[in-house]
Symmetry: C2
Subunit: 97 residues, 2 copies
């Protein structure tokens, strides 16, 4: 990189949050081969019990602000606070509760 | 995944922090092909000006707690607070200031 290249841009994850009451919101941050980083915002959202998430990709999740409760097949319900992180293996059914 | 598989493990990024005054600390969280997630803890640490970091990989950084100041070649100094994130392209010289 030389001095002529574009300046590196700083953005904030906690800025421009969607309004409370909206659906769970997913915003892409970065995509690379084999990787997608996205911001997920939930406001008391719960996944319908009969329609759990189930993905072809591993999903590493960390709570940056607030708190959440997740149900994971084979584990049960877990409470997550700020800084808590976990890896949801591909194919594992899970829900925001 | 079946109910017999191992339960998913929750860990906390802000737990077990190294003592203040220690060197900048890097802890691996997850490794996959083309991806490494690590926790970086700095306590007023500054990278020596004549030995900037310069990596073969792109590095996406987000401040989860506290604040930091980085110098980036071609951009200059940026102040980062909680939630701020940026992509440091591979090869770009940068320092914690």
């Amino acid at each position: 990189m030389s001095e002529d290249d574009q300046a590196v841009m700083v953005r904030n994850l906690l800025a421009d949050l969607p309004l409370a009451g909206a659906e769970e919101s997913f915003s892409p941050i970065l995509e690379r081969r084999g990787l997608r980083i996205e911001r997920i915002v939930s406001h008391g959202h719960a996944t319908p019990a009969d329609r759990p998430y189930q993905q072809a990709e591993d999903e590493w999740v960390m709570v940056v602000a607030g708190a959440a409760r997740l149900w994971l097949d084979g584990t049960g319900e877990v409470e997550l606070g700020r800084g808590d992180h976990l890896l949801i293996p591909s194919g594992l059914r899970h829900r925001v509760t």
